[in-house]
């Protein structure tokens, strides 16, 4: 099952601040739902344990996150490889920041992921909508928190 999403929320903060937050893995993790732990292997590699799902449907994934093509303060690419018993997922994400004004930034993101194993075979109907909701929810929260942190 492959899913692709994208969004472009506006953030009430300057591009530099947004970039700073984006590179702060602890801050990023705090915006993601149900992150149990984050461990920085180095500046661009992270090990994350996170639950994936909504409502009753929940699977715990061990994720390897890697940042690449880092172009401060404009764009970066993130790849995620995750495993849960009987399931696996890969995701590629790009982030691009576009300054709209002194205190406004547009954050364009794309995410594409493919899932394998039980999640794909028996959980597609349950999780396809969830994946979208979670991804959008994450960026929404990120945008809001960066904006609020500023105030």
């Amino acid at each position: 099952m492959r899913v692709e999403f994208s969004g472009a929320p506006e953030i009430a903060a300057p591009v530099e601040l947004v970039w700073e937050r984006l590179m702060d893995h602890k801050f990023v993790a705090s915006c993601a739902p149900a992150v149990e732990s984050v461990e920085a292997v180095d500046d661009t590699h992270f090990k994350v344990v996170s639950a994936f799902g909504v409502g009753s449907v929940k699977l715990q994934f061990a994720l390897n996150v890697e940042l690449s093509d880092i172009q401060p303060p404009r764009s970066a690419r993130m790849s995620v490889q995750g495993n849960a018993p009987g399931s696996a997922m890969h995701a590629e994400s790009t982030v691009e920041l576009e300054p709209l004004g002194p205190d406004r930034t547009r954050l364009k993101w794309t995410a594409s992921s493919d899932v394998h194993g039980r999640v794909a075979t028996v959980g597609a109907r349950l999780l396809k909508g969830a994946a979208k909701k979670i991804t959008e929810g994450f960026w929404k929260k990120f945008a809001r928190r960066v904006g609020t942190a500023r105030k």
Binding site: P85, A88, H116, G117, A120, V122
Partner: protein
């Protein structure tokens, strides 16, 4: 002929089944039983970098964990047993557990054995597998392209075989033909879905060196044979028991790694081991059916005489070649391209292609549904092109009844038939002309009715063995029976076949009871235990009644001949003076001079007074090898209404006229037709296995794979004609698969007939409302094809 042959008596297997006292494989319990669970690949195609079972081994209740590396030296791969000749067949090894690569999502990687089902399942989650994902390819046509991902290093372009069939000169026929039609047809992959998932229980007696395997099998002798090969255990040390089997439809023919692993573990641990698949595991790890992409063409004259057929077929095999897989799209498909018609020129090429999907093998009909479908679609397209009624076109090309035995262009010889009679009967049941009038009237009111008519014949009753050898089938295709008479006159027949719903415990008892003039209650049919039954080659290919039933008949006749000899001896009469009347041998002209079957049973078994040179006992074994296949045939008609607004198809009537020769038990024959037709209607309207581009099966549960439900299926009207076959002593043909063979084109042609005014020319199965609606939208735009 006796009094029971032809009688629709109640089934003798039913009392245990309706009271819950039947024993299926998962019901088998043994002291010290352990439970196995198999870890299956998450990815469709990947290199295995690491399989770490350390945590699983330490988990509560775990007795053992095996990986591919652990077993590869100790067992042989899963064999492919149908080595179709002259097609450069390549069957790379199929390891019991993957150790280098996985080739479909569901490929076994490790097996846990634990003290309970729960503990075995829990431990699976503790196995750590590191994969290096490789690209997947799920479509057989795409997989055969040069740049497609490669599954097996030794199979370039994933093409396992290229098989050709030709008769006459098809290219010339096409060059000269006035009319040509062609289609690209996708015959979708199907999930067989026997209601009982597969299971295996193995027990090993180390003192005796004896292995016993209970397994969901349509052919316990084949399982014994192939387990012996996989396990390197002599065949006589293996007893295979197929207890009650909850449906097969082909999916319980093949040898699977799973039962061999269960045996391996039982021998290794010296404890019994049970494994039962879940439905979602069944959908990934049990064979699928069909999966063809076909380019097919038909040519003929302007007045509707078919002169040639050409086909190029990509047949998906999945990740490995399953037991009978190469024979399905070739021998059981390509040889049947002519169907019931006189087509002088035929040419076909079939590519067997590996894809990163669950292996494909025989599924009810196995090759013949695909052949019948492509032919019947082409015939309708041809009729449409020349503006001829499709029934008339069929009638014009059917092989006439006085032409049998008839050899078709592909070289096989049909035994017997009266195709016109079946067609006439079906048409009269419907009143075809009246329906056409109704259809015309309805169209004026904006309602879309359609009718589909199929005439078909199929090849079944597999043997003969000599042909099996010639076409590379790795076994014989005779069958066998022992008829044993006990001193009290009751009889047991031990048969090589293994019925699993088809009712032969009843029909074969009818044969035996008739032969001996005894009540059917005095006869029992024993099947499914290799320790008790003679060598058989299984229940598939609609062969059990035609082949094994004939063996039963012959064995019973042999018993009766011996009984007659004994009767003559005891009555001090000439054998020639005896006649068989009311269950007795009677001296002609002296009705009080008689010996009943029971008398003779006792005398033969006590052997106090046997004729000179005659052995005691009343028992005979017969191995029956038919002289040819049998070719049942018939005509099916379906009428439908399509709700154009929503794409929903409603079947108005379904009429099945089939000819399987004389019917031993018409009630059972009718039941086979009902079930077969519904399976084919499911194929026509709703069943499809869907993979995503990564090779993940998206129809992995019954929530997504649309097994037909009662409310979705039509009522079926059945009728028959009776044309005996000369190739077996019962005169019978098979009926187990005809419904599934005939119904998909019948339904699809009916729907396309309804949609004809909307510009829809072709549409691939299954005709779900979503697909029909989309086709109508496309047709409105003039883009239909």
């Amino acid at each position: 002929m006796g009094t029971l042959f032809g009688s629709g008596i109640k089934r003798r297997e039913d009392p245990r089944l309706i009271t819950g006292h039947a024993t299926y494989t998962d019901d088998v319990k043994l002291p010290g039983l352990t439970y196995a669970a198999i870890l299956r690949s998450t990815y469709a195609h990947a290199r295995l970098k690491k399989v770490n079972v350390a945590r699983a081994k330490k988990a509560p209740g775990v007795v053992a964990v095996y990986t591919g590396a652990d077993v590869k030296e100790r067992v042989n791969p899963v064999p492919c047993a149908w080595n179709v000749p002259n097609c450069d067949l390549k069957t790379p090894p199929h390891p019991l557990l993957a150790h280098e690569k996985v080739r479909y999502a569901g490929d076994g990687i490790a097996m846990v054995v634990a003290e309970s089902r729960e503990e075995a399942r829990d431990a699976l989650d503790l196995i750590d597998v590191e994969y290096e994902p490789l690209p997947a390819v799920v479509d057989p046509e795409m997989a055969a392209q040069p740049k497609a991902p490669q599954l097996h290093a030794e199979v370039p372009s994933n093409v396992a075989f290229t098989w050709n069939v030709a008769g006459g000169d098809a290219d010339k026929a096409f060059a000269e033909a006035a009319v040509k039609v062609d289609l690209r047809i996708v015959q979708q992959r199907l999930q067989p879905t026997a209601m009982e998932p597969r299971a295996a229980v193995a027990s090993f007696n180390p003192g005796a060196g004896q292995l016993t395997l209970w397994v969901t099998s349509q052919n316990p002798h084949i399982h014994r044979f192939l387990c012996s090969v996989m396990l390197k255990v002599p065949e006589h040390r293996i007893r295979v028991i197929a207890p009650e089997v909850g449906g097969g439809f082909g999916s319980k023919i093949p040898a699977y790694a799973d039962e061999a692993l269960v045996c391996f573990a039982a021998m290794d641990l010296k404890r019994p081991v049970k494994w039962t698949e879940d439905r979602s595991e069944n959908y990934k790890a049990t064979i699928h059916g069909r999966d063809h992409v076909e380019y097919v063409e038909l040519c003929g004259t302007k007045d509707g005489a078919i002169t040639g057929l050409r086909a190029k077929v990509y047949a998906g095999l999945g990740g490995y070649a399953s037991t009978a897989a190469p024979g399905i799209p070739t021998i059981l498909h390509g040889l049947m391209y002519s169907g019931p018609y006189t087509i002088p020129n035929v040419k076909g090429t079939v590519y067997g292609v590996y894809t990163t999907t669950t292996p494909v093998d025989a599924y009810r009909g196995a090759g013949r549904p695909e052949a019948t479908y492509l032919l019947e679609r082409l015939v309708n397209l041809y009729a449409r092109k020349i503006g001829m009624d499709p029934v008339e076109l069929r009638r014009k090309n059917l092989i006439a009844k006085d032409k049998f035995p008839y050899t078709v262009a592909t070289g096989i010889t049909y035994d017997s038939g009266d195709y016109q009679a079946a067609l006439d009967k079906a048409l009269s049941i419907l009143d075809y002309q009246a329906f056409r009038a109704e259809q015309a009237k309805a169209r004026k009111q904006g309602r879309y009715l359609g009718v589909g008519v199929t005439t078909y014949c199929e090849i079944c009753g597999l043997g003969p063995s000599q042909v099996a050898g010639a076409v590379g089938f790795g076994g014989g295709l005779y069958d066998s029976a022992i008829v044993r008479v006990y001193p009290t006159g009751v009889v047991r027949a031990y048969i090589g076949g293994k019925p699993h719903g088809q009712g032969e415990e009843t029909t074969f008892a009818q044969i035996v009871a008739d032969e001996f003039g005894i009540p059917i209650e005095n006869v029992e049919i024993v099947a499914g235990d290799t320790e008790a039954t003679p060598q058989g080659w299984g229940t598939y290919g609609s062969r059990t009644t035609a082949v094994c039933g004939s063996a039963v008949k012959i064995a019973a006749q042999r018993v009766k001949e011996k009984a007659k000899k004994l009767a003559a001896h005891l009555l001090e009469a000439n054998e020639a003076d005896l006649e068989w009347r009311d269950g007795k041998f009677v001296v002609r002209g002296s009705p009080d001079q008689a010996k009943s079957f029971a008398d003779l049973a006792l005398m033969a078994n006590v052997a106090w007074n046997m004729p000179a040179g005659t052995e005691p006992g009343l028992e005979a074994t017969a191995f029956f090898d038919p002289s040819n296949f049998v070719f049942p045939f018939g005509a099916h008609i379906c009428t439908v209404e399509v709700v154009v607004e929503t794409g929903q198809v409603k079947i108005l009537r379904y009429i099945a006229v089939d000819d399987c020769g004389p019917q031993i038990n018409p009630m059972i024959v009718e039941g086979q037709v009902h079930g077969g037709v519904v399976q084919g209607v499911g194929e026509a309207l709703q069943e499809i296995a869907v993979y995503d581009e990564d090779g993940q099966l998206l129809t992995g549960t019954m929530m997504d794979y649309a097994v037909p439900k009662a409310s979705q299926m039509p009522k079926i009207e059945t009728a028959h004609t009776v044309t005996p076959t000369p190739v077996n002593p019962l005169g019978v043909k098979g009926i187990g698969e005809t419904g599934t063979i005939a119904s998909p084109p019948t339904v699809v042609n009916a729907v396309l007939d309804a949609l004809a005014p909307l510009g829809v020319v072709h549409l691939d199965k299954p005709l779900t409302p979503a697909r029909v609606w989309a086709a109508i939208q496309n047709g409105k735009k003039g883009g239909a094809r």
